[in-house]
Amino acid sequence: MAEGLSLRLSQTGPIPLDVDITLPVGQTLALVGPSGAGKTTILRAIAGLYRPRSGHIVVNGQTWLDATTNLAPQHRRVGFVFQSYGLFPHLTAAGNIREAMLERPASERAGRADDLLAQVQLAGLGGRYPAQLSGGQQQRVALARALARDPAILLLDEPFSAVDHPVRRALHAIIAEIRGASPLPIVFVSHDVEDAVRSADQLCFLSKGRSLESGPPRTLLDDPNTQLSRWMNGNASAESD
């Protein structure tokens, strides 16, 4: 596959990984699974923040990782929204976004930052510091910053976990808008299947570092024999106990 993400990661330890993912441009993949399934590790491996023992990562035809290549994070064109957002607290929202525009002429950065803030519905708040923003607003600044580098792939670590329902709805809408506006492969981590159903074209169900099954979220959920369905039912019965 020339365009999109082609990933294969394999190692027995220290974090076991046995994952195979193919994701075309314009599609969104949800990595779903229980805690410790290796979801965040996979995102970090794509970004170059974690080096697996073996495997390959190819994005839009460019090899980022294989037996002889391991591009540094600086040279992988990723947009990464961290679970803790990772905003630079000493810089304003606009300043945070401009930090990801090193390859853009300085004269264009301020205007582009304003455009991105508007895209994530934070127009006019560019002068605020992260501490002056709510959690949901901080997350959207992080999303705008992730987009500022014109990434080849967008990675979001648990974007829906720490936000309340209205913010969650708004975030789903923003992700839908990004999907419409930018032909990107998007990968997000979630422990909630409902988020995958709402925002993902594909779902990869992981356990202990292994991808057990993948496919359209609704298809996997509607089949009672899938491991995802069994895990969901197990969770539901555990919650009702």
Binding site: R44, A47, G48, L49, A72, P73, Q74, V78, G79, F80, F82, S84, Y85, G86, L87, F88, P89, H90, E99, A100, L102, E103, Y129, A131, R145, A146, A148, R149
Partner: protein, 221 residues
């Protein structure tokens, strides 16, 4: 009032701070990120000047910089004299004694920067050096300022090491702390009191200004 001693103390404190702070920033950053065998020993060595009596540190420095030592011989080639009983000697001693005051706050400040911020900078395309200049240094600034202020104030008040290494030569090694001691020995309490009060006021002002600057950065961050 021994103005000459006050000028010498201020010069010693300023030079010690200017020389030590960049070293402390680099050492603090390195110690914050480095994982290596013997790290505990390095950190213990940095703290050691806080724990040892000034006379012990002063004795070792006196021996290390004396005319019979390799350092003393090299200093004689370059400066025409050994380093003991000279301003250069007490400057070196002051820098060594103040290492924990400068390095520890800087290291703690770098320790406080979350890994996510460094990772975020990398995914923004920042090189290690750009991350250091644009992200880590501004965030560690309050700790660095605190270390600089402690170094300055502690140098102003340093007594034992300066006396051991430099003696008390007027205009060369007699700092205001030594001058106060001399005045007390001469039963000139009025003069000693004036100098002690001035030294305390300068130290208090330096620390207050430092805390104000560090606090302003913290409030914004």
């Amino acid at each position: 009032m021994d103005w000459q001693a006050l000028r010498l103390s201020l010069l010693l404190a300023v030079l010690t701070t200017i020389i030590l702070v960049p070293v402390a920033v680099l050492a603090g950053r390195w110690l914050s990120g480095a994982r290596f065998r013997g790290r505990a020993l390095v950190e213990a060595a940095i703290v050691l000047p806080l724990l040892l009596p000034p006379t012990v540190i002063g004795f070792y420095l006196l021996v290390a910089m004396g005319p019979g030592s390799p350092i003393g011989r090299i200093a004689t080639i370059f400066f025409g004299d050994t380093l003991v009983f000279s301003f250069k000697g007490i400057l070196i001693a002051s820098i060594l004694v103040n290492i924990p005051f400068a390095v520890q706050p800087a290291q703690r400040a770098f320790d406080g920067i979350g890994k996510d911020l460094r990772d975020a900078a990398a995914t923004c395309g920042h090189s290690v050096w750009r991350t250091f200049w644009r992200i880590e240094l501004p965030l560690a600034w309050p700790g660095i300022v605190t270390g600089a202020v402690f170094t300055f104030a502690h140098t102003l008040g340093e007594f034992g090491v300066v006396l051991m290494v430099g003696g008390s030569i007027p205009g060369e090694t007699r700092t205001i702390a030594l001058s106060i001691y001399d005045r007390v020995q001469a039963f000139d309490n009025a003069s000693a009191g004036r100098m002690a009060g001035l030294l305390m006021a300068i130290s208090l002002a330096a620390v207050a200004i430092g805390f104000f600057l560090a606090g302003r950065r913290n409030a914004r961050g």
